[in-house]
Subunit: 357 residues, 4 copies
């Protein structure tokens, strides 16, 4: 169904940046799963504003409250409703933009499509919506305990983490504010973001995600291939401009003899340019993909723009904004990937009669 | 619904490479649309094998037959069933691979997931499935006559079409076999493909797609953003490894002051790094995106692999295969994009009460 | 999508009888609809427990709180989240049935299906869930202001309202506790329910619903016929055992010459045994249907039953229960019908190109 | 998705009465199921026109041809495409009604909704569409070999089969043309239909369906209850006017003490007024329901009607029509029920983590 996430495991959400609350309903989550609420809050805390010097200083406690579907510590198989209250709503910050269209924001398109919009903090178009996705993904992770999902910042502007993911120690991702497991690169990224922030500017970056221990068989050809479901989820994240998996865009420069992954006798492959997916179905190798994020559109500088009547105006970002989204995007990418995998994992339980004969 | 395309306008398909026929059902196509069958066959002919020296020499007439939903030249609003018969089924070509797992093919994953597979020509995993998508997309184009969709080959291996799309004349795309509107680049691409073919090898490439005249308001935040639906569709195409739109991965290197698209008084934007989409909704500017394709896995050289028991075997591509998929991918990308747009266009007709008051 | 209501206009809900709250998300509700919150609360008050002597004396204020999707009195086209807090949770009332299976309740089937259940007040299987449906339907009514939907109690046990609906004045439905617009019949129904209540017993009944001013064309053949969507919605109501529309089961006794509805020159029909629907599509005549409800399973008498281990036990209803559900079912049927109509109404906006050319 | 059948196991269909062919695609059917094609054709033969003196004499061989999804006798898990060609298309029979609106047919509503219709034999509104449903249901039966589904004609006009289903021998259902297992009642039903046919009239009836050996746990509260999915499917059958299960409309006259089904120590119930379903979930007892069918609208007598301009006309049924649909409805009801059960059976495989831990 459009405007909800997942095919069988399903997430529907609500909430606007400066409304009363965000929340959602996770439908068709299996019964009997023990839920660790601390782990869910941990993921929210990773996404939370105000956690470091290089993200927005906006303060929100972002505590999730579960309203149904969990009984005596286990899921009951009935819909899981959850709520995150908005605390820090300085609506006044936004009165001045009620009739303005900010460059590269959704003000104009929402007004045109719906004829009305909640302009406060971008309303529905705010990236605060992703808080709901983190809750759902963190639950999905608990459905698939054996699967390891690690995302990290692989570039900020033109500073790239040159090491391949195999050379990185993901236990170090949380050791620095930018969430790049390579300490030396992290330092340079942080310096770059601080510099950009001082200029009242913003900068883009990329997040790489590596998924280990996915069982063979996850993904639904021909229209719900694993990579297609991942791409759709990622492209729904605010500011995302691109997705590639396995060899990605580099693979388009290669020849077949270079690109083919030959098999070992145990059906693992010697190389993994395929990125753990063949024909839309997981093959048991690591799944890895990269997501591109544009620089945040809100900059703390005067910009020429127009109001809703087409009159020239000067807009200037106020309030507290992220100079670079990628550090906070890391938990969003990870948990969103977990949700996509859980959905396809459940579907796969229905695809071969011999599983339940 | 998983394993079908589209949310409201819906395509379900069937068919295997060496089965009796391909076909599909287009559900919820509006009534009253005049259908030009020649235009649909034209798109199929662009995708068809054997049309030039740089694609597979496999011969198929690929004639589509409509079985329902069109009456006296117009759609009736009832399901449109269509059929394309398979003609050229040299099943024997494939007997030798019945128990083999070809490198970077879906043989292993299908066997593992389903416990059975039609191995002839890759069966369901064959890219011949895309013939169904071209039929559906070509119909969708006739629902949106005002929208112009032009795809072209923007790279083959490391040969890139350096000119921006604005500098290209799309009326020239069909003037050469590789479908690059820049004649000089096309020549070099064709030479490269012929060279690769002579070596029994294959090569990757990219396709760029430009969509003009999309009305403002198409796309459904928060989970069916226009770019997300496009990405999902494209990543379902066989051999696709990546998708980017607007500034794409380059945008991740930029700063906000460079990247923001400022408005003109008529709400068009001075630059268009956003790629015609803001907040998941079309803003009236050109929509453009790029799709990466890996090199075809079937190469006409001996490769080490394993059979379904894990025993080492040598596989060698036989029969007639594409040395490079991108020339034939052009109509697939175009028509698939048309289908995605038509689906979201119809949904948009329900999103604002003032449209139908 | 299963476990949600509606195809395009979509309701997802959560909540258990003795949990923290009920609530839901209405997705894809069009923008620009002025919302009258009093009218929504009015429908909830009609459904509310404790409103009269012949319904349960359980007390709940059942106040709905909207959390998103409505801005400055109008819908914004973004998801509408709402919440109804549970107040009156005497969980202790239910401790004694934690391991018991009550006759004709869902205790056994939930335990078997999910391996766990929230037993308090029936948990998810409680009819309190319908509070969510009333909220969604009351919103849907405001999308279709011209359509008149009137349900009423047409029988309690063997006491029937003999008058055809055309002879009834629906403005009188709310004049009595049982919600039968025929005062004399209402009195007898009320007396019967009081008598049954005194016996600690319960009784069944039927609700008839009449829908006027539905535009021609609502309903989607072949798998989402208007009557099929209504039937599905009604059969999801707790205790519902049957649905018939137009001539219903009586029509099965008739001949074609008796049953056919002949046309007037204005395309209205002289008779209306079809119940306002032809081929699954509304024809502009009154739509009417009848819904059967079994007697409430909880009776205030000792009954032989078994516990989860199969041991014989005696269960006796405690707490406050409805002796007859039909008076409170009236607003549920009405609002549920409104939601189904609104969903199909929106879909119909996409089915004929000439509507938006 | 609207206009398709099933939530996870999915059927999409096409075809018009006098088009080239009917057909459909069954999506998400599990792999590894051995398919007996004879059994599928057997169900089609039971539905076929011209099989006895009391059904239409229209002749069609109704042979189904499978085009994909079955390989070496087993399902592959990929979409199953099928085709039934139309043979007996006397389009001329219908030229005279091209502009006429037949009483109690869908001519008017289709024209109004879609602005165009294939008028030949009712086009899409023809009950011939149900041939697709029988194919899909017959396949679904092979997914659930242990489940026994038996439907039979329980009334024709005012002639009822008075015996409860428990007293009937379903092996005798096919022994007579009307498909009532009680020989004596069958004779009276047949005589009544012949009499009605002689008068050029038609008559209604009911079909009862009994389903044995359904495992406990099938059905999805709260919006996809087993009875709700069955009701939706049945109300989509042409001419269906009502559905009741278990005690049905009679249950609405009963008291709780009469209606409750008390448990045996093995969790079976002493009585079964619930009809094998509690809280929308199968409880292991027999599931039984009854479906009402109105008399066929086409009668071989002159009737006053109007044309599309509102001018009075006389319509008179020509060609070959059923005097009573219920004998041919029996296999439709049975196979449609099988499809609904298979869909919910597959969904249930995903609802409890302990099933696949």
């Amino acid at each position: 169904m459009f405007n909800s996430l997942g095919n069988l495991l399903n997430l529907t959400t609500f909430g606007e940046s400066h409304g009363i609350a965000y929340g959602g309903i996770i439908n068709n989550f299996p019964s009997g799963v023990e839920i660790n609420l601390e782990k869910i809050q941990y993921e929210l805390d990773r996404r939370k504003p105000g956690q470091s010097a290089i993200v927005t200083q906006r303060k929100e406690s972002d505590k999730v409250k579960f309203l149904s579907g969990i009984f005596e510590g286990k899921t009951t198989g009935t819909p899981i409703g959850f709520l995150i209250e908005n605390e820090n709503q300085k609506s006044k910050d936004y009165d001045h933009i009620a009739e303005m269209y900010r460059p590269s924001h959704a003000d104009f398109t929402y007004d045109q499509k719906f004829g009305i919009r909640d302009y406060r903090g971008g309303g529905k178009s705010s990236a605060r919506e992703t808080i709901n996705w983190v809750v759902a993904g963190a639950l999905a992770k608990q459905l698939l305990p054996e699967i390891e999902i690690n995302a990290y910042v692989s570039s900020v502007g033109d500073i790239f983490c040159e090491k391949p993911y195999q050379a990185l120690d993901f236990s170090k991702t949380e050791n620095n504010d930018v969430r790049c497991p390579d300490a030396e690169t992290a330092e340079r990224m942080i310096a770059r973001i601080k510099e950009i922030k001082k200029e009242g500017n913003t900068i883009g970056g990329t997040v790489t995600c590596v998924i280990k221990n996915v069982p063979v068989g996850i993904g639904e050809p021909v229209f719900s291939k694993l990579q297609a479901e991942l791409a759709k989820a990622m492209l729904n994240i605010n500011a995302c401009k691109g997705f590639e998996y396995g060899s990605g865009f580099c693979g388009a420069k290669m020849t077949g003899s270079e690109h083919n992954d030959s098999f070992n006798p145990d059906f693992s492959t010697k190389s993994n340019l395929s990125g753990g997916i063949q024909g839309g179905i997981s093959n048991g190798m690591d799944i890895y993909f990269r997501v591109a994020f544009k620089p945040v559109a809100t900059i703390l500088r005067p910009q020429e723009s127009v109001d809703k009547y087409g009159n020239p105006v000067i807009v200037e970002g106020k309030g507290r904004h992220d100079p670079c989204v990628v550090p906070r995007a890391v938990p969003i990418v990870e948990n969103l990937a977990a949700f996509v995998l859980a959905d396809l994992f459940l579907i796969n339980k229905t695809r071969n009669i011999n599983q339940f004969k």
